[in-house]
Symmetry: C2
Subunit: 263 residues, 2 copies
């Protein structure tokens, strides 16, 4: 069975890895398991098998065991998710938001069970540290959306020349992000229906509607909406929604003062 | 010091209570503490002091200690909150939703820290049971809102003659409820500003806008909106919002196909 000629390369699992490479390899294996199973259901043995290493080696890198490994994997998923929000500030803002949502929904799709377990809470591995990681992602998401609305959020660096978002606009964006999270969980519950592109379209419509409703009573949001509209096109999300909403709004004509006066 | 004449009545703490009365008294005391402090920061000694009883008596009623007492107090708060959603199905639907939100925001105000700690997660007393209690309240809230939209949700009893809500409408209502929760937490973070009535007005506007945006692409929601509009008045929330949104929508006229054709 042994031959001196054409010896195969040593199996990959036994390749000598640097500390950083080994850590990254363990995290990738852990994330693969945590993505599709509730954290409480993933054992360190499985992580070791998935990474092709021994259990003691997993403990050498993560002496805190599953809890520490879960938090590290979550941190790495959070970094990956935060990268999804990065989008160049060019073109119609609703189309930028649509591209961000496409990447976000792809992430949700690829981390389905882990995403649900994390956001639903009640897990034994949930701690104030895991909550802090999730809150960091929410803050990054809010900052990204505010930047496409031409404002800066409370947590990013304060660049000069760009205005800080006021309290109502910040509340609006953070509420919408909570609604997006809720819709994502429902989407997973319902077997990923409707198709991701349809859900994304509705979430963009939701943001546009929320901007319009908030502009009605908040001067800052009204000014943001005026600036945005100049960048939108008739065949983009805002144009399509405006066209579809006109018949709905037309049915509300009797609510307007002039209609009442004509009664 | 002892006198046979005019003996004072025995102090209230020593009054003989039935098992049910005693349990209720302990829950009221616990809820008072859990409402304004994080559950991890409330000790059983404090609950005993607040109720005017001994620590062993608290343990006799709640042998599981703080965890059991917290879950019972949470269940009792959940019942109280669910009662807030009950609103007769008469008058303009947006005004019914406004009254429900007024009661809900009063509850949030009265249980501020406990409400935040619960929804923010990461608490050591959070379990799958506490998550189930919170989910039950969310389901009850969704059912209540759907009933004011003339539909029944998935979790209530199926009454004849009323249509079940379709998937998009249910997702819309549940997303809005998540947004209301997020806005409530932000409201508490920002020292309960803006005033509750102003926040409530914005949350109603948010629901109306979401209904209009969803009606644009979902036939069932469009039919719900047509039925609702017939019940609304020009001086109610829908009328006021319609009046305020018209100037905002007017600025989007260039997005509409006929405006493009005229270019």
């Amino acid at each position: 069975m042994t031959s001196t000629a054409a010896a195969p390369p040593p199996p990959r699992a036994y390749r000598r890895l640097s500390v950083e490479e080994r850590r990254a390899q363990l995290l990738v294996a852990a994330l693969g398991l945590f993505a599709h199973r509730a954290p409480d259901e993933v054992s360190l043995d499985e992580v070791a098998v998935a990474a092709g290493v021994s259990r003691p080696l997993v403990y050498r890198y993560f002496p805190g065991g599953r809890q520490q490994l879960y938090e590290a994997a979550l941190g790495s998923a959070a970094d990956e998710l935060t990268l999804c929000f990065s989008e160049p500030p060019v073109g119609p803002p609703t189309e930028r938001v649509a591209r961000v949502l496409d990447r976000y929904l792809r992430f949700v799709d690829e981390h389905d069970t882990g995403f649900s377990a994390l956001l639903r809470g009640g897990s034994v591995v949930e701690t104030s540290r895991t909550t802090t990681i999730v809150d960091g992602v929410r803050r990054a998401a809010a900052d990204a959306i505010l930047s496409h609305l031409g404002r800066i959020g409370g947590s990013g660096p304060q660049s000069t020349g760009t205005r800080s978002a006021g309290p109502r606009l910040r509340m609006m964006v953070r509420s919408w992000i909570a609604a997006v999270e809720a819709a994502s969980l429902i989407w997973l519950d319902e077997g990923k229906r409707p198709p991701a592109a349809e859900l994304r379209g509705w979430l963009v419509d939701h943001l546009i509607a929320l901007l319009a409703a908030t502009a009605a009573t908040d001067e800052e949001t009204a000014s943001v909406v005026r600036d945005l509209l100049a960048l939108e096109t008739s065949d983009g999300p805002a144009g399509r929604l405006a066209e579809l909403v006109v018949p709905v709004v037309a049915e509300a004509a009797h609510l307007l003062p002039h209609a009442t006066a004509a009664d």
